[in-house]
Amino acid sequence: MSISLPTYSRLEIPLLGRRERVWAIIATGLRREFRRPAAIVVIAIGVAFTTITSIVLVLFASFLLPGQPLNLSFFALPASNGFVLFFVSLMAAIIGSGLIADDLHSMAFTLYLSRPITHLDYLLAKAVILAPLVSMITVLPLVITALVAAFLFPLVFSWGVALQAIGLSVAVGLLLALFNTSVALFLSSLTRRKGLAAAGMFGGNFGLFIPASILASAIGNPNLLYLSPWNDYLAVASAAFGAPGIGIDWPGALAILLGVTVLAALVTYLRMKSVEVITG
């Protein structure tokens, strides 16, 4: 039972700034995601699968990949792990698709914007909720793999190489995380039905990767691979780790990934600014 009297009392303290307000959205958003069974399962299975498969590659590299040089370029393999693509798409679909769509559906968006924050604050908070969760798939397993490699095989993978691998893993992993965060929020802002945004996320990642790969090899034109974000990422990751490329130039691929990331973020912002009337 509350000890407060049921009277209208005055608040005497000053309000905190916008940074604290945005942080409140982020902290609450992350807490809510970690309470959702679907989110917990995807995070747990995603991190486990990508990490385990990457470590298996390290442990059995000499059996599974005869001829693979065991230097920095080796770490391009875990970075191009197919499970990363699948679980990043799943994570963005299950968590990211609802971040804005749910607020539009429940009309809580009006409630947020009636508080002293801006559209940009709101979007920034949503991005900061999603990006670390996606990074758990794109960055964490790669970092763990490099650490495991250095611990188990210090004569093969020196700490110098492992640290370089960790740095590069963080860089390429963050690139992929930012891309997927930006696109997921963009799709989420387009609809009140998160299922559509989730489908769009899978469609965007796999729907471009598979046809682009098949067509590129069928007609012998590797430039088609630029159409697929995953192939763009592979080109950048391969170049970063000094591994053989996949047939497209990394600067062009990097430009596409960054361009789409920035464009999606910008369009999401403009889109949310234009969502000014919600029935009522």
Binding site: S4, L5, L11, L15, R21
Partner: protein, 305 residues
Amino acid sequence: MLVETAGLTKVFGEVRAVDDLTVKIPDGAIGLVGPNGAGKTTFLRLLLSLVRPTAGTAKVLGRDIEDGVPVRERIGYMPEHDCLIPDMTGVGLVSYMARISGLDRDTAMSRSHDVLQFVGVDEERYRKVAEYSTGMKQKIKLAQAMVHDPQLYVFDEPTTGLDPRGREEMLDLVGTIAKSPGRNVILSSHLLPDVETICKYVVILDGGHQIAAGELSQLLTGATDRLRIDVRGDRDAFVRLLKDAGFDADAGPSGLHVSRKPGLEAAVFETAKSLGAEVRYMGKEIRSLEELFLELVARTEKRGA
């Protein structure tokens, strides 16, 4: 001034939801009334910068609405529609909104419990919002609007969907807030008795225009040089005969309105006798807000036609 607008206009496609609105609303408890589609909600959203004006300017509590964030720091908004986050608990949602308004975690939580106590949400505060009844949701909406102790409360149809008891409770709460020193209330409603209960000043909108504004008591008293007559019988014939006798008379939804002139009382009873009609009231133009509203809307429609 609580709110000051100049030529405020908001156009959605071909609809002018708020049309060249120039108002000066004083501090206190203000009623914003009008039929559905009058532009009340759009006007409130303009004040909160939730929608951008097509033209014109507005100031709330002395600050331009373009400033956005500093204006909203001082406003507590209770929207009409369901807008709560369904998977949060009542207390979780209210403290979340408190933190987004700038309260630290501890203050947000203790303040949330205080306001939930105030609005009458007891143990239910630990249940998820999705499980709440309409009345409970309205109380949560009220609690989140007041949690950061704003200077201005904006209530958009706060009694919508409530049963008579819930409505009475809600009006009591809104009334308590309105009477609190230094707090101002804008109560938007098409339920005129609600406004009459709470507010001292009203702004009446129709078709995005202001059709009347002023102290409620003055508006309801009407012109002192006119009488209101309630007649049971043929009202049109009554008006015609009074006009024939040289009196300026017209029939409105709230009764007959006649300019005071010597001999009026005698003429009224003569007319009633000749028509076999019954005069049920003759006196000052004291109207209910509903009568005033219907009269103004009818006058506006007539002018438009």
